[in-house]
Symmetry: C2
Subunit: 433 residues, 2 copies
Amino acid sequence: MSVTSRDVGAPPQPEGEGALRGTANSARLAARVLATLPREEKDRGLGAWADAIEGGDAEILASNALDLETASAEGASRAVLDRLRLDGMRIREMAEQIRHVASLEDPVGSVIDARMLDNGLRLEKVTVPIGVIGVIYEGRPNVTVDAASLAVKSGNAVLLRGSRTAERSNACLVRILREGWRDAHLPFEAVQAVPPTRQASEAMMRARGMIDLLIPRGGADLIQTVVRESQVPVIETGVGNCHVYVDAHADLEKALRILINAKVQRPGVCNAAETLLVHRDVADAFVPQALSALADHGVEVFGDPEIRRRSPAGMDVQPATDADFLTEFLDLKIAAKVVDTLEEALEHIETFGSRHTDAIVSEDLQAVRRFVAAVDSAAVMVNASTRFTDGGEFGMGAEIGISTQKLHARGPMALPELTTYKWVVWGSGQVRA
Amino acid sequence: MSVTSRDVGAPPQPEGEGALRGTANSARLAARVLATLPREEKDRGLGAWADAIEGGDAEILASNALDLETASAEGASRAVLDRLRLDGMRIREMAEQIRHVASLEDPVGSVIDARMLDNGLRLEKVTVPIGVIGVIYEGRPNVTVDAASLAVKSGNAVLLRGSRTAERSNACLVRILREGWRDAHLPFEAVQAVPPTRQASEAMMRARGMIDLLIPRGGADLIQTVVRESQVPVIETGVGNCHVYVDAHADLEKALRILINAKVQRPGVCNAAETLLVHRDVADAFVPQALSALADHGVEVFGDPEIRRRSPAGMDVQPATDADFLTEFLDLKIAAKVVDTLEEALEHIETFGSRHTDAIVSEDLQAVRRFVAAVDSAAVMVNASTRFTDGGEFGMGAEIGISTQKLHARGPMALPELTTYKWVVWGSGQVRA
């Protein structure tokens, strides 16, 4: 099957539904080729990408410089500029990440269930690619390369709709990937850039039947918009209002270590802790030292009256509102509350949590078992930091996002989560009685 | 945790968003109890249901008689009345089906993956219920009982929105189920009736965060409406435009048996065949006998010119349009076409199929391997009837629907498909470096 002859280096198409249909159709044809490509070919393609990215460093840096210039002129913050900026080191890291993805096991073609029926039919449940995956993302240009690598390694085509800020960097990266595959005689239409416009995103969300799955990656607003408006199936990612619950029978030394790590080790990410819950029985012992340690790390605390009552002399703890308990701060801020019982902690997490990651610190088996059974989150940590909810930490070798929904995949998603399955039924003329 | 004290026998609530919120919240509270209920308790509850259904036969038949009377007065077809009608036998079958579901393995609490990380963390991926499942369905009242049994056995609560035609039968069944669990001291709010109105369906589709999953069961119109409008994640079920492809190297005796079984054994269901594709090399040998056999079974054929050219003398084969190839007839009708190559058959299935079930009849290993790899459907049959795509036939013991989408579940869905998973991470104070 041949892929279309559209120019490999063509810039993203003009906006809207018609253009998106053309892009998605080219991607679908490429996906059909990729779906049955042997691992060796896919890995050869990923190798070609890594080389092309390294060889294209001058162009990439030039495009990136233009993005940086525009962003700077528009008054972007230092944090935004830092996320946007590429340098030789970051480009080499991108290439290394592609080679790493190539080294991972091929998730396609695994027989995940098989049975022989009484009538002689043999059933096999076999993993297959999902097809065409759309990714709508903000931020770093390396997501372009990560998402493309994970998609094609799992046999999928990908439509990439990055942020306007990184428009030229992303376009350059996509062009290099497509040229790399054209030269390697692989279906380069598997990677498509979609222009960073609202109109293009809307066309993606309406492309049911053309796009099989949409993954939004970014802030809560972006994710909520896609979840609300998309007619294409979505995997909701990323919003993490994570709790650390310090139980009546906690080892307070562990509790303090876990709390501080969960809050401050990298506050801007979805698996950082946003709320501390402390059982009343250990509140007098734990709250003052926790507040001091948090303050030492520059963390601002919003506490309920029982927390504030226990703050060390001279320390200013803001009163916490319900809004604080609902907020994913992504910053050196934390909400804190004293609970009378484990059940009250569970109730609080059920009401205010985002079903991402919640941790209990306790040496009491019954309390731990109850917490693990009752907390309805993608990941439940027992005496460990919430920061471990991560594809890399979980040993998956990569991560395309962290699902906070219940269908298909929950928690960190890597290559197997980018596949589905089909049933293959081997017969010898059987019919149904 | 106590469930609400709303009267167990209360009729479905008045329509709209507010009422649905109340219903869904009661269901969610009950789901939290059910999620951690041991198997023995769930099975005891199912036993109580079977007894209650059998003991309530007089009321059920009385409600059903009222539905039949209304439907009859409104001029319902004999087929509709037959699907609606309950009798002593059908009631006993419902009770038996409940007992059968009780006998199936509990899908909750299985550790489906576990690993020990280098830092000493132990990861477990454990199956858990989805939460609150909404089912919007047409037709037979026994779906009410089937859906409720499968939902609670897998630890979920269920909102049942049946058809207007079966309104009184369904309300009576739900009341009996709820009374049965009230008397057994189980969380009866796990089963909720939603009124059979457009307004109530719309409220369900907007209930993101309150309902975790919507399953539409019924005709293509119903399914498309739910898929298009729902903000709640949906599993698309049931539309089956299934193909039988007779390859150049088919055993024609098997091909004929499979074709007739796939088309006529039960034409009104989603896994019945709707299109026949025949390779040119066997068209002269196969088409005339296939057309005769289809005619003998009262099947009307819509054929392309190459099919019509080969029709036995005196037989009238209608010309096939693209619309015919797109149609799920659910009737004694079939579209038919001669293809020049296996690739043309694959292209036709890709263009006109519904990704439900497609069959190849061939003794040629390479052709079979290509078909199995390239056809992107929930089930691919090799030398077997399309009618085998069914939870019962697949040995799943039950079926809540057949998914034609790629996320979460594909093909027949039973108890494991009504669960999701969570990650449980067991530590001893680990923090991230």
